[in-house]
């Protein structure tokens, strides 16, 4: 069974974010290889690693084999990069040095991961005492001066590369700890982790299956960076002469070259070049991985944008936007329509796609709203109802295009025929002053950093040009008007100190503060409890009648429509299906889609009966379930 409505209803806002790294992992490698920096760094690092592994085969001499008769020699056929002050072959030492340098960097990262990753997983997942204690340890580790600790270790245990790298690994492990803990904390309370708990998965399996995948990508990026730092620190120590002189490493070679910098500068060049290439390669690799992951994020956002075009609504047309001339002067509106407060004519809104076509999310929509009238726009997610509202407000995303039609407000075009964008110049004069907006999520539409009073006063001072004191008096009166019992307290409160219903009242107060002619309310009660919703609807009705304003109410709830609206427009897949007075539409809908929607209402239905699929009928869904139940076998 494929139900067109359900398939079309790819909700725009609810895609999980913040986990792109794991979601898109299959394409990360491909994207990495497409990135020139990524492929370059991979080639460099692979080459260096291969040279290091094959050092015993490739190197013509032992790392410490000294030909005392041939010191500081220039390159020749035997010593292709020359020799150092003890007559040792530079090329051979460079190869063996690569081995030791890379291994020690790996050791350092390995130690840091071995300590930081499990500790971070446990602390993030279980929290509690372990987290508190490990936070203390981490703070202590991070406050230690690294270089001094390393010098102390060297003094205590001798000039071994391995000891100093283990110590450095421990010192740097907090970076892994913090990274892991933060990532785990962000998913610890996800519902799918709860679902796994209910399924009886052990903690170990939950961490391995559901949580580890979240930290994998950041750990890889971090390791690239840390390996680079480890090489730099280790070489730095050896350059200072604190390394083991019997082992060839790039740091020791650098130190040696520095001593002879006036006699044979090339001795300095080769180890420095090797280090620069390796560290640079690691840093670039880290960046490339991050870019590859973030690319996925961008594409997801783009996909989110065009949600409204389901299979049937996804009519794409070749970009007509370019052909449309943009005119400087705004044409006069059609004669006889000036009295409408808002008139939308044949509106089409679309988003340009990567292949040059335009995906229409609103198609050929026409309606009007008069003063003192409430128009309800009803539809399911992806029907284009919010996009229509946003085009009247001029709040469409930057990449949106008006592909057809016009919008006029109070006798003037805000989008004239032929224009492909909403004129911000014209709308910014109207928005907030004559057109205002009540959003769906009251909490996310108040800035948590400022008091409610500040957020009410500032727009009034700006738009109405009144003094702060006057605006304050007005704001307090508005808060009383929207039914807030203690306006003074709410005025001084921060958004988190009030309830959702209270916050929505505040936003309504803000919306009417500048005495608008038109209020656009986008699902104004959807996030509220039913009893609060009823109060807010009462408030909206009372204000609308008292101020005689026009309202466009975007909603999916026919109960809300019945409560408030004079006229209703029903939208589906970007098109306007049906329009009429509220009684016409709710009682005698003409279109099948409207009937389906109304039929889905639970009010007045016999409980425990099927709403959509008939209990015995040739409907695919019923068939499938009966089929399944017939051949179902006991499991486990």
């Amino acid at each position: 069974m494929s139900d067109s409505v359900e398939t079309a209803a790819v909700a725009p806002s609810a895609l999980p974010t913040g986990q792109s790294g794991t979601v898109v992992r299959s394409t990360v490698m491909r994207r990495l290889l497409k990135n020139p920096l990524g492929i370059a760094s991979l080639v460099i690092l692979t080459t260096i690693a291969l040279l290091a592994i094959l050092a015993p085969v490739l190197a013509p001499f032992e790392e410490n084999f000294a030909n005392i008769s041939k010191t500081l020699a220039a390159p020749d056929s035997t010593n292709i990069l020359g020799t150092d002050s003890a007559g040792r072959d530079t090329w051979s030492r460079l190869l063996f040095g690569a081995q030791l340098t890379l291994l020690s960097a790996l050791l350092c990262a390995g130690v840091a991961i071995a300590i930081g990753l499990p500790a971070g997983l446990i602390a993030g997942y279980y929290a509690g005492r372990f987290e508190a204690v490990s936070n203390w340890v981490v703070s202590i580790l991070m406050s230690l001066p690294g270089l001094i600790v390393l010098l102390t270790i060297r003094a205590a245990f001798g000039p071994s590369v391995w000891f100093s790298m283990i110590a450095f690994g421990i010192l740097i492990s907090p970076s892994y700890f913090r990274l892991t803990r933060a990532a785990v904390q962000s998913v610890r309370n996800e519902l799918y982790v709860d679902a796994a708990r209910v399924s009886g998965l052990s903690d170990l399996s939950i961490v391995a299956r559901h949580i580890f995948s979240v930290v994998r990508a950041p750990i890889i990026i971090q390791t690239a960076a840390i390996a680079g730092v480890a090489i730099a620190i280790q070489s730095g120590l050896e350059f200072l002469g604190l390394g083991d002189p019997t082992k060839a490493t790039w740091g020791v070679m650098l130190s040696e070259g520095f001593k002879n910098v006036y006699l044979t500068p090339s001795l300095l060049l080769w180890p420095a070049l090797a280090m620069a290439l390796t560290i640079g390669g690691l840093v670039l690799l880290g960046n490339a991985i991050r870019d590859a992951l973030e690319d996925g994020e961008k594409i997801k956002h783009r996909r989110k944008r065009g949600p409204a075009s389901g299979p049937s609504g996804g009519s794409t047309t070749a970009a007509p936007a370019k052909a449309r001339p943009s005119r400087k002067s705004v044409a006069a509106v059609e004669h006889g329509t000036e009295h409408h407060l808002v008139k939308v004519t044949n509106l089409g809104v679309g988003y340009p796609q990567a292949d040059g076509s335009i995906k229409k999310v609103v198609d050929n929509v026409s309606f009007h709203v008069d003063r003192g009238e409430i128009l309800g726009i009803v539809g399911e997610s992806g029907s284009g109802k919010s996009q229509t509202a946003f085009s009247i407000l001029g709040l469409l995303p930057d990449n949106a295009r008006i592909v057809a039609g016009s919008i006029q407000f109070d006798g003037n075009y805000t989008v004239a025929p032929g224009e492909d964008r909403v004129s911000q110049e014209r709308l910014s004069k109207l928005r907030g002053k004559r057109i205002s907006y009540i959003p769906q999520e009251p909490m996310s539409n108040l800035d948590p950093a400022f008091t409610i009073g500040y957020q009410l006063v500032t727009p009034m001072v700006r738009v109405l040009g009144i003094s702060k004191a006057e605006a304050r008096t007005r704001a307090l009166k508005l808060l009383t008007d929207v039914g807030i019992v203690n306006p003074e307290r709410t005025f001084n409160a921060y958004p988190h100190e009030v309830s959702g219903g209270m916050a929505q009242r505040v936003l309504i107060a803000g919306a009417i503060s500048c005495e608008p002619d038109l209020v656009i309310a986008d699902e104004p009660t959807t996030a509220l409890d039913v009893t609060v919703q009823a109060d807010v609807l009462d408030l909206l009705r009372e204000l609308q009648q008292r101020l005689n304003i026009g309202v466009i109410l975007v909603t999916h709830n026919f109960g809300v429509v019945a409560d408030l609206c004079d006229r209703v427009a029903v939208m589906q897949n970007g098109r306007l299906v049906e329009e009429g007075t509220v009684r016409e539409i709710l009682r005698n809908p003409k279109e099948n889609y409207t009937r389906t929607l109304l039929g889905s209402m639970l009010e007045g239905k016999t409980p425990m009966t099927m709403l959509v699929s008939p209990p015995e009928g040739p409907v695919a869904h019923g068939e499938a379930s009966r089929h399944a139940s017939a051949e179902k076998e006991p499991v486990a």
Partner: protein, 293 residues
């Protein structure tokens, strides 16, 4: 009603349940989420749990599932007290006790294929790969999803389809009770109707019981045999669905009923007037009670 006789041996009974969350502040009183909750659910029965945000209805569901701390009281499932069941006991319980969460977007791991998500509970119970595969196909069929969904990721599906996947996961082990935590409130109207149909169909086919948590009185009325109303962490009213959702006794349930708008302008106007009258009446009663005290 047939459900009454079923209650003789309740599948789940919750007795005097108290849930408290320790306060973040030092030595402060713990936050009490649930107070003295008593409910029972019989075999094949649906108990609807209705209340507003913060009323504790979700916490009650989570306490039954072992996801919320039980401070006092008992949760008895098939005669065993499971209020403090260990992880091992929970693993055995998970065959009979399952969950469908509200948000179909975060209840499925975005990194796992649908097939792997559905096979997870089967694997925990030690089912072989082939048998699990077969069962996953059955489940997809049962919830009305195409069988090629196995190798797709959750993000390729719409909200209603994801909720079908979540329902399939809950059904995987043929449980006796499914805790449904607002399973349709994130869905569109027509999708909600289809998913409710699916819940009913599954109950008819398998005889599963539901603890159905919702804020929507209409949804609860439609799907439940009995309904319990929660308000500020307590159950204020409990009884047969038809009675509680049409002719409630408790003032709060009365307010709730009249607050929910009906899709007809004239009847809604009537309901609005009724609601205002009720609010006025209740306000006067409170005042009188205050004056008397």
């Amino acid at each position: 009603m047939s459900t009454v006789s079923r209650q003789d041996a309740p599948l789940l009974s919750v007795e005097d349940l108290v849930v408290e969350y320790p306060s973040k502040k030092f030595r402060a009183k713990p936050f009490r989420a649930l107070t003295d909750i008593n409910i029972t659910i019989g075999q094949g029965e649906t108990l609807g749990l209705v209340g507003e945000s913060g009323s504790g209805k979700t916490t009650l569901g989570r306490a039954v599932l072992g996801l919320a701390p039980v401070t006092r009281g008992k949760v008895i499932f098939e005669g065993n007290d499971i209020s403090n069941a260990s992880r091992r006991e929970r693993r055995t319980l998970s065959r009979d006790l399952q969950v469908v969460f509200q948000d179909p977007y975060t209840s499925l791991n975005p990194a796992l294929e649908i097939g792997d998500i559905l096979a997870e509970p089967l694997g925990v119970q030690g089912l072989q790969k082939d048998a699990a595969r077969k069962r996953v196909k059955e489940l997809l069929d049962q919830v009305g999803l195409p069988s090629d969904a196995i190798h797709r990721l959750p993000r390729e599906f719409s909200g209603g389809q994801r909720q079908r996947v979540a329902i399939a996961r809950a059904l995987a082990l043929s449980p006796k009770l499914i805790v449904c935590d607002e399973p349709v409130s994130a869905l569109d109207l027509s999708t909600q109707a289809r998913v409710l149909d699916l819940f009913l169909q599954i109950q008819r086919d398998t005889g599963v019981s539901y603890l159905f948590v919702s804020h929507d009185l209409d949804v609860v009325r439609h799907i439940s045999h009995r309904v319990a109303v929660m308000f500020r962490g307590e159950i204020v009213e409990q009884g047969l669905a038809g009675t509680v959702t049409r002719d409630p006794e408790h003032p709060y349930t009365q307010r709730l009923l009249l607050a929910s708008p009906v899709p007809d302008p004239d009847r809604q106007e009537q309901r609005r007037a009724d609601r205002h009258r009720l609010l006025e009446q209740q306000r006067q009663q409170t005042e009188q009670a205050g004056a008397a005290a």
